[in-house]
């Protein structure tokens, strides 16, 4: 197991290098640079702009700049944000907790809804409960988050005035008040994101359970005299979870990406909105760092999926 982990991590290194190279070259070749705006500013003479470009080494060949970025990266220097005038790592570390809080809770909500609903729906396929669950799941993933998000804001913030529609990382309140406020402002984004995910997970759990529930070993378990609840939990759900785990683990990085939209709607100062504003400001070091973090997440969650696989399915061994 330890060996397996080590080998997987070693294999991950070249792929991360490859990803970073492609990202870097793409960004370098894309039109526009952090000093683009200075060109339209009459107070900044072209010489100053050129001097800045030389100072930050932006006229060097792409590969030279890539190697320089890589070396700095390994030394823990993630670059400097031109737009925010702080180090990129400080900026990312500031934003990540908010994103983790919102996205993480939304995922937990999604699984907490999808697992029981999916299993119950599959227990009695085509029953009334199954039909209702299916209909809601269908509606759920047909509605994009930007629509449901705006709808919720319209209802609960504008019309009813119950919930704030701007997410603030710097709440003024203290003590219980602070907890109350931070829960209140997170309700809508978490609901929107969580239920959207829950919809597709439900359909997935249902079909995974349906695949397993008809198998002979489930009948075997029943014929042993096991009670129905244990049959479902021990023999059905544990086996049905294998494909679900893959889906959830491999979806996680996508969820971070998908959260960008939700973060924009609710103005959550998370990593997604950092990426958007960096792209708009041509803030290359930030774009590079954030996309690279996403790439690392993909690799990491793939690894987690593989480890969970081995744990759930004894036929897969860590070799």
């Amino acid at each position: 197991m330890g060996n397996y982990l080590l080998r997987r991590l070693i294999v991950a290194l070249p792929s991360l290098l490859g990803i970073s190279l492609i990202l870097f070259v793409l960004l370098a070749l894309a039109p526009g640079d952090p000093f683009g705006e200075l060109a339209s500013n009459p107070n900044v003479p072209p010489e100053v702009r050129e001097a800045l470009r030389i100072k930050f080494g932006m006229n060097d060949p792409v590969l030279v700049r890539y190697v320089r970025w890589l070396v700095a990266m390994f030394q823990g220097d993630w670059g400097f944000s031109f737009a925010s005038r702080v180090n990129v790592d400080t900026l990312i570390l500031q934003r990540i907790p908010t994103t983790l809080y919102v996205v993480g809770t939304a995922q937990i909500l999604a699984l907490a809804v999808a697992l029981p609903v999916g299993v119950l729906a599959a227990r009695r396929p085509y029953s009334i409960f199954d039909q209702i669950a299916n209909t809601f799941a269908f509606i759920g993933f047909s509605l994009p988050t930007f629509f449901t998000g705006l709808l919720l804001i319209l209802i609960f913030s504008v019309n009813l005035g119950w919930l704030p529609f701007v997410y603030r990382a710097d709440l003024q309140a203290t003590g219980w008040q602070w907890w109350w406020e931070s829960i209140k402002q997170a309700i809508m984004p978490i609901t929107v994101l969580g239920l959207y995910q829950a919809a597709s997970y439900t359909r997935y759990v249902r079909s995974a359970v349906l695949d397993v529930i008809k198998l002979d070993y489930v009948t075997t378990a029943r014929s042993k005299g096991l009670d129905e609840r244990k049959v479902i939990v021990k023999h059905v759900v544990r086996n049905a979870l294998i494909p679900v785990v893959t889906l959830v683990a491999l979806q996680m990085p996508t969820v971070f990406g998908g959260a960008i939209v939700t973060e924009q709607i609710f103005r959550i100062p998370g990593i997604g909105s950092l990426l958007i504003s960096a792209i708009l400001a041509n803030d290359t070091p930030v774009i590079m760092a954030v996309t690279f973090v996403f790439a690392c997440l993909v690799v990491l969650f793939n690894l987690i999926a593989d480890i969970l696989y081995g744990w759930l399915d004894p036929r897969i061994s860590f070799r």
Binding site: Y217, T219, T220, S223, K224, G225, D227, N239, L312, D313
Partner: protein, 332 residues
């Protein structure tokens, strides 16, 4: 149609009595998913099994023999009929007493690959039943029991920690058998236990089942479509056609002097391992009719070589023709 007539007065009390067992699966259709018909998979089946005997149930695929087996265990709920096991009314059992019944009646499945949970070790698969029914007093006793069971079916103690995928089909079926006998049942439903295995392995598993019967006095309801296997293992055999039993007789008698025209046709299809012997083959015309809309009267009249008018009008009762030989035909 009662079978009591056939059972000799001196015979021991039957272990299992099945009377008028019927299972109809509803067919739903249309816009509102209303029931528009039903498949009568099992249609008024009567038989009994005595302690420590093997009762064979044969028929073509789809004739309802597997459904009958599963109804006995209530893995499928029968639509109507009576099931009596050792004087207990099986139909009325529920909850705790139904689970207790599953200590006395066990089942072995056709597919040895699908019937074992891939994520459990062999020890856990066999041991689960021991735990459920409280048959192991201590951890040590539990393990000893499992080792003993594995050795009884011809496997080894160290197989306990392995997973099903590490075994061959024949070994898996042995595991299935070990699992079934773990709770010391009185009756095992063998649902085509050897049809998925190689012929050489089939013989081994059949011999194992016979050995276990001698050792522990287990009765078998042996469901199969392979006539020669059933002849070999069973004391009495019933032939099913479209959800009904058409003939029941002691094994040797059924195979030497079949009475029902369907049984004759079925038996004449068994190959003889001697090319010089020519047999009069009874060929049936057409296919098995759909159980959704079975023929009126005798279900077999559409394909029967000796059918007359009465056959499409009246259902022939299963009546005794010889000692212990029952046949459902108007003319035999």
């Amino acid at each position: 149609m009662t079978e009591a007539v056939a059972a000799p007065a001196t015979a021991p009390a039957p272990l299992l009595t099945v009377r008028n067992l019927t299972k109809a699966f509803p067919i739903k259709g249309g816009l509102l998913k209303r029931q528009i018909g039903s498949v009568r998979a099992v249609d008024g089946v009567n038989f009994h099994i005595e302690p420590s005997e093997t009762f064979g149930l044969v028929g073509e695929s789809g004739c309802g023999k597997s459904t009958t087996g599963r109804c006995v265990l209530r893995l499928i709920e029968p639509s109507s009929g009576e099931l009596n096991f050792e004087g207990k009314d099986v139909i009325s059992l529920s909850g705790e007493s139904l689970r207790a019944l599953r200590r006395d009646i066990q089942i072995i499945f056709q597919d040895p690959y699908a019937s074992l949970n891939p994520r459990m070790t062999i020890g856990a698969i066999i041991g689960e039943a021991l735990t459920i029914h409280g048959l192991a007093k201590s951890r040590r006793h539990y393990e000893e029991r499992i080792v003993h069971l594995l050795e009884t079916v011809g496997l080894q103690a160290d197989h306990m920690t392995r997973y099903p995928h590490e075994f061959s089909g024949g070994q898996r079926q042995r595991i299935g058998i070990a699992r079934a006998i773990a709770v010391e049942p009185k009756l095992i439903i063998c649902d085509e236990p050897v049809s998925a295995l190689d012929v050489s392995i089939q013989a081994q598993v059949i011999n194992l089942l016979e050995d276990l019967q001698q050792k522990f006095g287990i009765a078998y309801l042996f469901v199969a479509h392979d006539l020669s296997v059933v002849e070999h293992i069973s004391r009495r055999v019933a032939v099913m056609y479209l959800g009904r039993i058409v003939e029941t007789a002691p094994s040797r008698q059924l195979y030497s002097t079949p009475k029902h025209p369907y049984t004759e046709a079925l038996l004449s299809a068994v190959p003889i391992p001697d090319p010089s012997v020519k047999r009069k083959r009874v060929r049936l015309k057409g296919e098995v009719p759909s159980p959704i809309n079975p023929p009126s009267g005798c279900h077999f009249h559409t394909r029967c070589p000796i059918a007359k008018d009465v056959c499409s009008k009246e259902v022939p009762p299963l009546k005794a023709s010889d000692e212990g030989h029952l046949v459902a035909c108007h003319f035999r």
